[in-house]
Amino acid sequence: MSARRQKVLVLYLANSALDAPVIAWAHYDGTGKTLHMAGDQDQPPYATGLDALKDGWRLFQAAQLLPHARGEEFDVAYLKYEFFFEQLVEI
């Protein structure tokens, strides 16, 4: 088995641009060295998604931009601009 583990950072941005401000975030640490949970951090780890890239996080998934269904144009539900980043860490 590889001695590398994945750390995942999920950032939710104020629009679809990667340099837009962070409005929500989550950490998941596959090394088991840190435990993150809901409500554990009131200030975002980065000001923008681009700042996460500059700090060595690798982007591996970004939310699609989807058209708005007719009749549901004003509906709001989940956060739209979701970006998944990873770091691979030797353990």
Binding site: N15, A20, V22, G39, D40, V76, Y78, K80
Partner: protein, 309 residues
């Protein structure tokens, strides 16, 4: 106190509830009621090593003197008058807030005693002590009308005790319960650190979750969900509604918007608003205000007029 003398919410408070999904009243419940509630709720029993955390929950539920109440019971009949909850629900502030948001003769939906155990319970149960995922209660709810959930904090809550976490302004989002659990932290989230006797009135849709308790003592919170039996229209003190139906200048303005007006409250963003859907939040707040004032022409800052909605 007669129904006609109740302290009703102001229009600014009603608009704030529409915009942000909550109203908070610190230390609103007298200590005598808080103490009586804690006695009726009962103390948690210590766990032995290897016992499950569920045992501690079951013991609290079995021992407490809070009644089982059938869903659909008139709220006025839910609690014995001399019980802590009967006395709580008779407080003028509570009656006035409920009347303002739900109108006459509200209906009881359910209640629940939330207990958050300290770390030693989780250690003995070999159970990870973590916060609750952020969620919206019940299930997908497409209504414009709303239920109210009253959270009662019967004792002081410190930040170490976790407190209930909620995110102002999320209540108009149509989501499916804990489907949003992935969002660990959201800008503007609030943790209920408060004095004993604090009350939080919530729109049923607000995103929230229990914080992890890292203190030595158990944390209690009691929640009552209730709904309207009739009209929710203009049930608060509407005397202060200024309704000239005149629109103010928008975008190109030479001074900040007047504070405390319904229009300003409905168009004030939350720190987590996305730049585009933040505008949809204004649209949905205005629609909810139209419903509550029964005025399909009401608008704030031209958002719906422009769209001819």
């Amino acid at each position: 106190m007669p129904e006609t003398d109740l302290p009703l919410l102001s229009s600014a408070q009603a608009a704030s509830f529409v915009a942000r999904g909550f109203l908070r009243f610190d230390a609103a419940v007298p200590k005598a009621i808080n103490d009586q509630f804690m006695k009726e709720a009962g103390k948690v029993s210590e766990l032995k090593a290897g016992e499950k955390i569920g045992k501690a929950f079951l013991e609290v539920f079995a021992k407490n003197r809070i009644p089982e109440v059938s869903a659909g019971t008139p709220l006025a009949e839910a609690y014995a008058q001399k019980s802590a909850l009967g006395r709580l629900m008779a407080l003028p502030l509570v009656r006035g807030a409920i009347k303002s948001l739900l109108g006459e003769d509200p209906i009881f939906d359910h209640h629940f005693l939330h207990v958050s155990f300290p770390p030693r319970f989780h250690e003995r149960a070999e159970h990870e002590n973590v916060s609750q995922h952020t969620h919206q209660d019940s299930t997908i709810d497409p209504r414009l009308s709303f239920d109210v959930q009253m959270m009662y904090f019967p004792h002081a809550v410190t930040r170490e005790m976790g407190g209930t976490r909620f995110i102002p302004g999320t209540h108009l989002r149509k989501v499916s319960e804990v489907a949003l659990g992935r969002y660990q932290n959201i800008r503007g989230q609030q943790h209920m650190v408060c004095e004993g006797g604090t009350l939080l009135f919530l729109h049923h849709g607000i995103w929230h979750g229990g914080g992890v308790n890292l203190a030595e003592t158990a944390r209690y919170m009691f929640k009552i969900r209730m709904r309207a039996s009739g009209s929710q229209v203009r049930q608060w003190d509407v005397d202060d509604i200024a309704r000239p139906n005149a629109q103010r200048a928008i975008f190109f303005t030479k001074s900040p918007p007047a504070k405390g007006t319904v229009e300003t409250i409905l168009t004030t963003p939350e720190p987590w608003f996305e730049q585009d859907t933040g505008r949809l939040e204004y649209v949905n707040r205005i629609k909810l205000w139209r419903y509550l004032v029964d005025d399909p022409t009401y608008d704030a800052d031209y958002w719906l007029t422009r769209l001819k909605v």
